[in-house]
């Protein structure tokens, strides 16, 4: 359903990702693992067309995605970047509403839905997003991406700087949303437990390329690989 083939890209003249191919099926949650600096975030930015495409293609439902970042978003690509990037001088409600309205969904319903999924946002609904804590901003960034009703959701380090109780909550909600809407999720992570709790399989990246693909059981049992990924 969602397919990246031979992705090659980077910054300036430096190639960061080389010939990356992977696939995520409908209703599937797939993890993208690897240590810092292997190119996970760059792959995400390649997919959202934030960096130029040197080679390769990104397809959704067997159709090539448009060339622009906003075109890809409207075609059904949701993205929660590392660092969240909420709109700081807009309220929590506006952050969610603008994402829904831009993609032709009713803002009011989207906000209601988001508040159901993430009750912790309720008490902050009218507050400016820039004043929220890191964890709250992360949840808001996720709620904003979901308000687009994407077909594919890219999550870049969603647990970074987030307290454990919220991480568990996020995992539960992602599983529920996957169930309800059949969304495909690709999540780049360092937190192995989080990945094992939601993803059915994983790609392991190394020096800008996919080194191997494993399923959850394999990952759970392969202590050697785990240690390598955790860097211990």
């Amino acid at each position: 359903m969602f397919k990246i083939s031979n992705a090659t890209g980077g910054y300036g003249k430096t190639t960061i990702i080389r010939d990356v191919s992977l696939e995520v099926g409908a209703g599937e949650i797939v993890a993208l693992l690897g240590r810092n600096g292997v190119g996970k975030s760059t792959l995400m930015r390649y997919v959202t067309a934030e960096i130029p495409n040197w080679e390769g293609r990104v397809e959704l439902d067997n159709a090539l995605l448009p060339d622009t970042t906003f075109g890809r978003a409207r075609a059904g690509l949701g993205y929660v970047p590392q660092g969240r990037f909420v709109f700081p001088r807009m309220s929590v409600i506006e952050n969610i509403a603008v994402a829904a309205a831009t993609n032709g969904h009713k803002p009011k319903q989207a906000v209601e839905h988001a508040m159901e999924w993430f009750p912790m946002l309720k008490s902050k609904a009218a507050a400016l997003a820039g004043g929220l804590s890191g964890g709250q901003q992360q949840v808001l960034a996720l709620a904003r991406a979901l308000a687009m009703k994407p077909k594919v959701l890219l999550l870049d380090e969603p647990t970074e700087g987030v307290q454990p109780s919220i991480i568990d909550e996020m995992a539960g909600i992602l599983l529920k949303i996957r169930e309800e809407s059949g969304i495909a999720i690709l999540v780049a992570e360092q937190d192995l437990d989080f990945c094992l709790s939601i993803a059915s399989r994983a790609y392991v990246m190394e020096r800008g390329a996919v080194r191997l693909a494993v399923d959850r059981e394999e990952l759970r049992q392969n202590k050697e690989l785990q240690q390598e990924l955790l860097g211990v």
């Binding site: 959202t48 934030e50 906003f70 978003a73 990037f85 909420v86 700081p88 603008v98 994402a99 831009t102």
Partner: protein, 286 residues
């Protein structure tokens, strides 16, 4: 008593005229962080557009939307050719728009000459005791208030307003949720220019179109926006009424020079006590 009332009313109308001329600048500065020193020339553009339309036989009231539209189109071109290359570089933008302002002034001199015919003010007046006030300038109080409410509503409640703010706050993230940031920014700048064009057109019966009319407005408008601070729209309304209205009261009792001295002295004083603008601790968004 009647005299005092008449002075207050006409001062409020002068303040409203100043506010009408300022709102476009406030929108562009507040939303995009761009100080458009050619703002006065966009007002002039609107004034000449309306004047030319009425000379072609278009009724004055219809010449206003024509002027707004033409100024918006011109503003969009300026954004695409100049402004969008300079976002986040405030001083470069000021320099570029100042240059644009000089060029537009010269163009107007070449095309229209330095004097141009005014259009007659709609001849109606109301009597307050033994004083008689022209209706049209008083109408500007209503125009300024509706303009303020309309722009506030557009920018805070409408979907466009949310997109515009998102696109300027975090452009790459706005794109990632499907907003075409560069088109949105072009539209925002064009709206700011359209508001300037509206000012030029609607004020035409009061302030005749001349090539140098922009200079007269831009200095005071600019100071009002600076004094207003971060909550640009509401702040500009308050500082326009306080500074513009105050100056107008002073000039009716003394001379217009005294009024101007009051305006600039008050600016200095306010900036001395509120270096970030009077609205720096307010809590609304615009």
């Amino acid at each position: 008593m009647d005299y005092l009332f008449a002075v207050l009313l006409s001062s409020l109308s002068s303040a409203s005229i100043l506010l009408i001329a300022t709102i476009g600048l406030a929108v562009v500065f507040g939303l995009m962080g761009v100080i458009n020193l050619a703002h006065g020339e966009f007002i002039m553009f609107g004034a000449y557009a309306a004047l030319t339309a009425t000379q072609q036989g278009v009724p004055f009231i219809l010449s206003i939307p024509i002027a707004v539209l033409l100024t918006m189109i011109f503003g969009a071109l300026v954004e695409i050719l100049i402004i969008r290359r300079l976002y986040g570089r405030m001083f470069d933008t000021m320099l570029a728009t100042w240059g644009l302002s000089l060029a537009l002034y010269q163009c107007a001199v070449i095309i229209f000459g330095t004097v141009s015919p005014g259009i007659g003010m709609p001849q109606m007046s109301i009597a307050i005791g033994e004083y008689s006030l022209a209706v049209y300038p008083l109408l500007m109080i209503v125009v300024a208030a509706s303009m303020l409410i309309g722009v506030y509503y557009l920018l805070t409640k409408s979907v466009y307003g949310m997109k515009a703010r998102a696109a300027i706050q975090v452009p790459h993230m706005a794109r990632a949720i499907g907003i075409n940031s560069s088109n949105t920014n072009t539209l925002t700048f064009a709206i700011g220019c359209g508001l300037a064009g509206f000012a030029g057109a609607v004020l035409l019966p009061i302030v005749p179109a001349t090539p140098s009319m922009g200079f007269a407005f831009v200095i005071k408008s600019f100071l009002i926006v600076v004094v207003a601070g971060p909550v640009t729209l509401a702040g500009s309304a308050l500082s326009a009424i306080g500074m513009g209205g105050g100056a107008s009261v002073i000039s009716s009792f003394m001379t217009s020079v005294a009024g101007d001295i009051f305006f600039f002295a008050l600016t200095l004083l306010l900036l001395r006590f509120y270096p970030l603008g009077i609205s720096s601790r307010w809590r609304f968004k615009l």
